[in-house]
Each structure stands twice: as C-alpha cells, then as structure tokens.
C-alpha cells in the first residue's frame, strides 16, 4: 500500500515478522494466530516458508479454501466409508486434522461471520464439536490461525476473529531486499525495530521484576493506547510467558514484557496516550519526556518502558491515522448479512426440503441416503435407493445489496436549484447502480412533514416518474425527514441490505415534529433525531447545500456520525462521486 519509507523500517518489520513466526510455531494455539496483511508475492511466501522452517516439530499446517462447507470444516459423514461399512462413519474436518498446528486462511477479509464464529469457537475451546449428519463427536482441535489478509484499507477480517489472535503483521512495507538472510545467524530474540534497538540492548532481562508488575503494566499500557478488549492484555501476557519460556526462563523479564507489548498491543492501538497525564493515576515523574529520552531509562518506572516501547512499535501508517484521530475504536459490523431464503448467491449449506421449491443438493442428498443402503436393499445392484426424507436442498446467502437513501431538503430555504441537482444525482446514481444491482430511495421533506417519494427501487422508469413530480418550497421539517430516513434505513438493514443515507440540507430546521414552526425547538429535535443514526451505526453522508458552509449542518453531521461534505457548488457529477466514496463496503 504505502511505499517503503526507509530501508531500516522494512528490515525491522521483517525481523518482527520472523520473531512472530518463531513464537507462533512454538505454541500455535496459545498465540491464537496472526493476521498477515500482505499482497501475495515473494515476501509473503518467504514468511510462510520461514514458518515452515521454524516448525521443525512436524506440526500440521493446513490451508482452508475460501467458502469451505461445514462438512469439511467441522467434519461430517464419510460417504464412501459409510456406504462400504453400512453404518455412519465420521470423517474428521479440517480443524480436527490440523490439531496442534496451524490453519492458513486465504482471503480472510472475505470470511463470512458464520465461518468466523466456527473458527473462533475452535480457538476458544481447543476442540471442535460435530453434531451433523446423525453423528456426534467432540474432537481436539488446538489450532492457530494465519489469516492472509489482502484487503483494501476498509476491508478487514471479522473483528470477532481478529480479537482472538495475538499478532498482526503488515508486510506491505517490506521489500525483497529486506528479507535476504543475514550472514550472522539470528539469535532467539532477533533485532528489534530500529527505534528501540539501543534501549533493548541495554535492558535485557536483568531487571527481573515480579510477574504481577508485568500484568499491571500490560493492562495500563493497553488502556493508555485505547485497547478496550481484555483479550489483548491476556494475550500479551501469554506471549511474554512464551518468550520467556523460549529463552529458558521461568518468569518473564522486562525484555519479554516489552516485546509482548510491542507485538500484541501496538498494532491494536486506537489512540495515543496523553503525553502529560500518563496512563491512569500512576505518578510518573519522567512521563513527559518518555518517548524522546532513551538514555536515562535505568530508573524509569516499568510502565513507562513498556509504554515507550509500544509507542515506538506502532506501525507508521497507523500512527498517522491515530494522530489525525481517524481510527474508530469499534467498527460497526455488517448486520443482517444473512438474507432471507434465497435461490441464488453463495451456497451456505443444505437442509431437508422439497427440491421442487428450491435447488436440490445432490451430494447432501446422497450423504443422507448413504447409511440406509443396506437396509433398503436396492433391487438392482449399483443403484442407490433415495427416499423423500433424504432430499436436501441448498441454502444460499445473497450478497447484501446496498441501498442509497437520499433524504432531500426540498424546503424554500434550500433553494429550488439544489433540488434539481439532487434529482440529477439520483438519476446518475440510479443508472450506475442499475449495472451494480444497487437500489436507490428518495425521501423529500418540506412544509409540515416528510414523504417517501421513491421507495427503494432499481427501476429507472419509476425513479424518473417519482423525481419529476417532486415539489419544492415551504418550511424545513428536518427532524421528520431524519426520522423517515432512519425508519427506512433500519427496515432495509433488517431485510439484509446495507443502507447508506445521503442527507442533502443546509441544516437550518424551522419546523418541529408536530408540524409547528419554531426554529429553536425544531433544531433540537433534528439533533436528537440525528443522534439515532449514530446509535444505530448507520453509514451516512451529509451534503451541505447552503451556498456557504453552515455551522448548523456541520453539527448535525457530527451528531449523526456522518461524513460532512460542504458542497456549495454541488452538481450531479461531484455528488455521485461523493456518494460512491461514502458507500459502505458491501
């Protein structure tokens, strides 16, 4: 993604990646795994190769194909063996086969919630429960995961899964030059990132400290960097213990705690600690100059050492985002990803049913019929007896389609030409979404209330007809317009779609919910209505249509958690581009 900033950074990232490979190979299940963000290429291959080399103990490594079905992931009926034996025979799934080793998940950014939940359950319990096809078993599956993430910036593997993995690596900044092996053999604790190298050399493990101290400093550091989940400090402590064990020590020392914090906590940072206050209520004399001053660290409190190490280890890209305050601590999930009964989309399994009303799943049907063959004793050899009970139909999941809801301020204050521009943008978007199978809806608010001018549609004809009849003029019932947009957006989300609300207004409300005029009350109601968008985590974009950017509109966008776009010279083309940029990743 970003060009390699400087050679040392790439080399440092690679060293860190190798260290992760060592730790992960030593205890895959304890580490949970790693999210490896990298484009496919020689660097990623080299890392995977390093992993195999480090894993000399013969731990299994399995690759999980994208879109794997439950019978292969968890386990299921072994069809040939069942037919041969005349009784149900269990075939172990991939997770059970990888017990004690690693599972590589390619294209993890595309992983769906259901598969992620199965993997997460396996990480939590160290085993896989099979209750399928008339079989019940619990098999050990103490696995670690390698999530290969090739996503763009706004794509990520499911958060539920990421949270359980100790490590996050980004190899995009590493070039081929960086991965040439050193002439000197690496020790068990390879070189640290350039910034912290000198300090690490100075403070190896000769300040033992009690483990309790490390627990506290890891917790404090996690809090200082805005890492909310408690899994993070627990994983960090586990990694510190693992690093100590690899060094042949029974208790982790400072070097181990610092390394664990760098590897586990730094990539999860959502904010930078306050430079003055320091973490929590700890009295810290040296806190203010902590990041800069690396010489006098012999007397510094332990928390500071860990804190400074994490600060130094935060990936440069993330650091820039943190400084700009752009990282949201919680990403709203794609709810409603599971659509209703569909006949197209990606198959997600099968269930008993009538193939006349859905598509027959031949393999599942054969699997259901297999154990019965001896009992049914087909009259002719080589023919399989299938009964109605055996029939299985395929279940599909549709990709959730996105719907753009335009909520247009059609009042007198918003000037008629804005309305014309909004109409133009809707038409342009519609033509475009016709190709993408997205939908558009239009809500207009003016006078005393809001109307759904155009219910969610893909139809060009209907859209044009609805738009043509859109009236303008009157007061600005902003709250009513927001309520209508919210209700429609929630309905779409319940139906499995991804709504995006585009609000075009100047933010100057003057009609309340009751339909009565009154600027102050109408403004308050509009802000309250806007906050509901934030609560529901709806994607929204506010286009300020006033000829000069309005403070009221900006505050409204803030309350909605919407992107604010002052567009004094809004035209159809620029509006369309802004909407495309704000659309949620479907």
């Amino acid at each position: 993604m970003s060009p390699p900033p400087e050679p040392e950074a790439g080399r440092a990232a690679w060293d860190r990646a190798l260290r992760v490979a060592t730790l992960l190979s030593a205890d895959p299940h304890g580490c949970g795994g790693v999210r490896l963000r990298a484009r496919p290429g020689p660097v990623r291959d080299a890392w995977l190769a390093a992993l195999s080399a480090a894993r000399a103990s013969g731990r299994p490594v399995r690759r999980m194909p994208a879109g794997i079905a439950d019978d292969r992931l968890l386990g299921g009926l072994d069809l040939p063996a069942t037919l041969a034996a005349g009784r149900p025979v269990l075939q172990r799934g991939l997770l059970a086969e990888a017990d004690g080793g690693l599972v590589i998940v390619p294209m993890a950014e595309r992983l769906d919630g259901a598969t992620a939940a199965r993997l997460a359950a396996c990480l939590d319990t160290g085993r896989v429960s099979v209750a399928r096809d008339g079989l019940a078993a619990r098999l050990p599956a103490r696995i670690g995961l390698i999530l290969l993430d090739e996503g763009d910036e706004d794509e990520a593997p499911p958060a539920a899964l990421l949270e359980r993995l100790a490590f996050r690596l980004d190899l995009d900044g590493v070039s081929l030059r960086d991965i040439v092996p050193d002439a000197a053999p690496r020790d068990a604790n390879p070189a640290r990132p350039a910034g912290t190298q000198s300090r690490s050399a100075a403070v190896t493990s000769h300040r033992p400290g009690h483990t309790t101290t490390w627990i506290e400093s890891l917790c404090l550091t996690a809090c200082a960097f805005g890492v909310a989940s408690l899994r993070a400090p627990i994983l960090a402590l586990r990694i510190a213990r693992l690093a100590a064990a690899l060094d042949g020590e029974s208790e982790p020392g400072e070097a181990h705690a610092v390394e664990a914090a760098e590897l586990v906590l730094a990539p999860r940072a959502t904010r930078l600690p306050e430079p003055q206050a320091g973490p929590a209520d700890q009295p810290e004399p040296a806190s203010a100059d902590a990041p800069a001053d690396r010489d006098g660290d012999g007397d510094r409190p332990i928390d500071d050492v860990v804190l400074a190490a994490v600060r130094a280890a935060i990936p440069p890209g993330l650091l820039a985002l943190l400084a700009a305050g752009r990282v949201r601590s919680a990403k709203t999930g794609k709810s409603g990803a599971a659509a209703a009964l569909a006949r197209s989309g990606r198959p997600v399994g099968s269930r008993p049913g009538d193939p006349r009303r859905a598509r027959l799943d031949l393999m599942a049907t054969l699997r259901a019929a297999a154990p019965w063959q001896r009992l049914r004793m087909p009259r002719e050899a080589g023919r399989i007896a299938i009964r109605t009970d055996d029939l299985r139909i395929t279940r599909y999941r549709q990709r959730s389609e996105s719907t753009t809801i335009f909520a247009v301020d059609a009042s007198g204050s918003s000037a008629i030409e804005r309305l014309a521009e909004a109409k133009g943008a809707v038409e342009a978007l519609l033509a475009e979404s016709y190709a993408r199978r997205d939908r558009v809806a239009l809500i207009a608010f003016r006078g005393a209330g809001a109307d759904i001018v155009l219910p969610p549609t893909r139809s060009l004809v209907r859209a044009k007809r609805g738009l043509a009849g859109l009236p303008g003029g009157g007061g600005t019932p902003l709250a009513a317009g927001l309520d209508a947009a919210l209700a429609l957006a929630l309905a779409i989300r319940r139906g499995g779609g991804s709504p995006l609300v585009v609000l075009l207004t100047d933010g100057r409300a003057n009609v309340g919910r009751s339909g009565e005029p009154g600027r102050a009350r109408a403004g308050e109601e509009a802000l309250a209505a806007a906050r509901a968008f934030r609560e529901e985590g709806l994607a929204a974009l506010l286009v300020d249509t006033a000829s000069r950017p309005q403070e009221a509109a900006r505050r409204l966008a803030e309350a909605m958690a919407a992107r604010y776009l002052p567009l004094p010279q809004a035209n159809a083309a620029s509006l369309g581009a802004a909407v495309r940029a704000a659309a949620p990743a479907a």
């Binding site: 304890g30 949970g32 439950d70 992931l73 968890l74 005349g86 009784r87 149900p88 919630g113 259901a114 939940a117 199965r118 359950a121 990480l123 939590d124 319990t125 160290g126 085993r127 429960s129 209750a131 399928r132 096809d133 008339g134 619990r138 050990p140 103490r142 958060a159 539920a160 949270e163 359980r164 627990i215 890891l218 996690a222 809090c223 909310a228 989940s229 408690l230 899994r231 993070a232 400090p233 627990i234 402590l237 586990r238 929590a280 209520d281 919680a330 999930g333 709810s335 409603g336 599971a338 399994g349 154990p371 019965w372 009992l375 009970d389 309520d483 319940r494 919910r513 309250a528 209505a529």
Partner: protein, 380 residues
C-alpha cells in the same frame, strides 16, 4: 470475569464429562443399547470457576436466578467481545448442584414426576432415582437438525433391524440448560424449531418413520455480540432475562481479570482447588434458594409496583410483568429474604425488561437507560 478456556488442558479421550455437567456420549460401539451412560457428579474438569469471575454482576445474577427458578425463561447475554460471556455460562455447569433423575432415562425425567411424560418411563421400566449433574448442553455451530431434534438410531436400525429413536440435543437438555453461543448467527430453521420447543416444553418428532413426543423443558441461554447481527424479535422475547455485558474500564478490575486468567492458565487444577470453598458456598446458596423459593411471598405492594413499572415502560403483553415478578422472587430467595421487596424488583428490572421495550426512534437513550429512568420515577 474471564475469557476463553483456550489453555485449559482438555480431556481428549471419550467418554468424557467435560465442563461439569455436559455429558458426552461414548463411541457407539461401546454403548449399550438404551441407557445413557452418566457419571454421577462432575469431575474436576478444568473450567474457570464461576465464583472467580471478576465483576459482571448482572450476568452472574441472571444466571443464578435462572438456576434457582428455571421458569424465568432463559438468559440472553449480549455485549462486548472478550467479556467472559461464554466462560460464565460454561462455569455454571460446574457450579450447579446435582438433580435427581430416573436412572437410564435419556430425558432425565424426575422420578417424582409423572411416568407418562416420556417414552422411556411410559414403557414401564422401574424408575429408580439417581443423582446426576444438571445438563448444560452446548449447541455447536453448524449443528444439523437431526442431531438437535433426534433421529432414528441408524446403528441399531442397521445391525438389529430395530426402529429406535436416538435422542438429540433437546432430549439431553431436558430439565437443564441449552446454551447457544453466537446466538445471532444461528440458522433460521433451527431458531424456529428451538422457539417452538422452548414454548411448549415438548419436542415432537415426525421424521424417518418415527412419531413420538418427549419432554424438552430447558433454560435457553444465549450469548452473542450485537455487532454480528440483530436478533429476530421473536427470539429476543423468548428469553426471560437479557443482560448487557460491557468491558470493565477501571484499571484495578482489568488487572484482576488478567491476573486471575493468568493464574488459571498456569495451574487450572490448583486455581480450581483454591476456589473450591467459594464454589461450594455458592452451590449451597442455590440449593437453599430453591428450597425456599415456594415460600417467598409477593406482597401486593410489590405486584403493584411491577405493574406500574411495566405500564410506564409500555412493555408488550404480560410476559414482562410475569418475568419481573418471578425473577424478583428468585432473587429474594437467593438473598435469603422472605418476601419480594422493591429492592429485588429494582435489582432485576433492567434484565427483565430491557429487551421488551418498543423501539422508539424519538428517544435516543438506550433501553437500559430507559428502564433505569422508569425505575427511578416509578419506584422512587
């Protein structure tokens, strides 16, 4: 409060009694035709002890209430990741006191109950009672319908030509708990099925030439993260209590959580042994509360307060009010009170009511805040 049980050594050989009361079936070949093998009490399985869970008082209280009075109707724990939802529920299995059940009955019938309730007991076999752990059955993700409902026992059908019913997860959960992790990811057709059984307490099987009914009364316990998807309203309503679980933000609590988890991971056996006293005391409290439950009175003043509270919040139907009273009574029993006072109603109101409120787009406050506000106004 803790997290996953990743580092606990797992019993890998079957038959096993893992996680307290969860009874695993041995391999089929080793199994005698009908009786379900059981161990009499949970072994010292290394699960994180319930009493060692830091904080999360609302969730723990809701689970204890459900253990005292199953008619409360299930517990739903929704909230942040990594807050120990699954840990608490799995820990409950090890905590629950054993119950009396008919020996060999696959549905764990109560020997004191009616003999006609299940196919096994109705067959007229002698009904000896024995102590068994209260079942806490995990519904695994990806479970298929036949294993949930039960199906024809293939093995016996194929080898002996006998048409026999092999009970499923619903049968095993009878008189116990059915736990669904990631409840919002459950397949729709399984949700429908579970709702039907949970409502009637009876599992009706009509498949593969079998036609039978068996009792399936269980406490539905669900956990999940709201970010993964919304729950269908029908399923939401089916849970008696709904608790919100949030990550603790104060540093000492967080440190204590990590410390206990670390201690448990390093020495599960020793950690459990150190907590054995607390576990025993809690178990005794549950047993005592159960015995006392029928004697706890609900004065008119408390009934009226509950009614006013539900009215003020505009909850649908009577279910909310009934759950509120039942939960308050169970809480009173747990606390050793003789009658239900306002304190108990106040204590359980958020759990009993927050998931029954109508969505109000005009009110941006969360449902928890709305319940708290109503409690402050009505029960002042």
């Amino acid at each position: 409060m803790t997290l996953d049980e990743r580092s606990a050594p797992m019993p890998l050989s079957e038959p096993e009694t893992g996680e307290g009361g969860i009874v695993r079936l041995p391999p089929r070949a080793a199994r005698k035709p009908s009786p379900r093998p059981r161990t009499s009490l949970p072994e010292a399985a290394p699960v994180f002890p319930f009493s060692a869970i830091v904080g999360q008082d609302e969730m723990k209280r809701a689970l204890l209430i459900a253990a005292v009075d199953p008619s409360v109707g299930g517990v739903l724990a929704l909230g942040d990741r990594g807050t120990g939802k699954s840990t608490a529920i799995r820990a409950l299995a090890a905590l629950l006191p054993p119950m009396k059940a008919v020996a060999g009955c696959p549905y764990s019938c109560d020997p004191a109950g009616s003999a006609s309730a299940c196919p096994h007991c109705a067959a007229g076999s002698p009904r000896h009672g024995r102590l068994v752990p209260i079942p806490v059955v995990d519904l695994p993700l990806g479970a298929t319908e036949d294993r949930v409902v039960g199906a024809l026992d293939l093995e016996r059908a194929l080898t002996a030509g006998i048409k026999a019913f092999e009970p499923g997860l619903l049968a095993r959960a009878n008189r116990g708990f059915l736990y669904i992790d990631e409840v919002n990811l459950l397949e729709d057709h399984l949700v429908d099925l579970l709702l039907d059984v949970a409502a009637s307490g009876v599992n009706t099987v009509e498949r593969e030439g079998l036609s039978l009914r068996h009792p399936a009364r269980f406490v539905l316990v669900g956990s999940g993260n709201p970010e993964e998807g919304e729950l269908r309203p029908q399923l939401l309503d089916r849970f008696g209590l709904a608790v919100e679980v949030t990550t603790p933000t104060d540093i000492p609590t967080r440190i204590e959580v990590v410390r206990r988890r670390d201690a448990f991971e390093r020495d599960p056996g020793g950690f459990a042994a150190a907590q054995a006293g607390a576990e025993k005391a809690l178990r005794r409290r549950i047993t005592a509360a159960r015995a006392r439950l029928a004697e706890v009175t609900v004065p008119d003043a408390s009934l009226e307060a509950a009614a006013r509270l539900c009215l003020a919040l505009g909850t649908d139907g009577l279910r909310g009010e009934l759950t509120l009273i039942r939960a308050a009574r169970a809480l009173a029993a747990l606390e050793g009170e003789e009658s239900v006072g306002l304190a108990q109603i106040r204590g359980v109101a958020p759990s009993a009511l927050r998931h029954r409120l109508r969505r109000n787009p005009l009110d941006e406050a969360g449902s928890t805040a709305r319940v708290a506000r109503a409690v402050a106004e009505v029960l002042a």
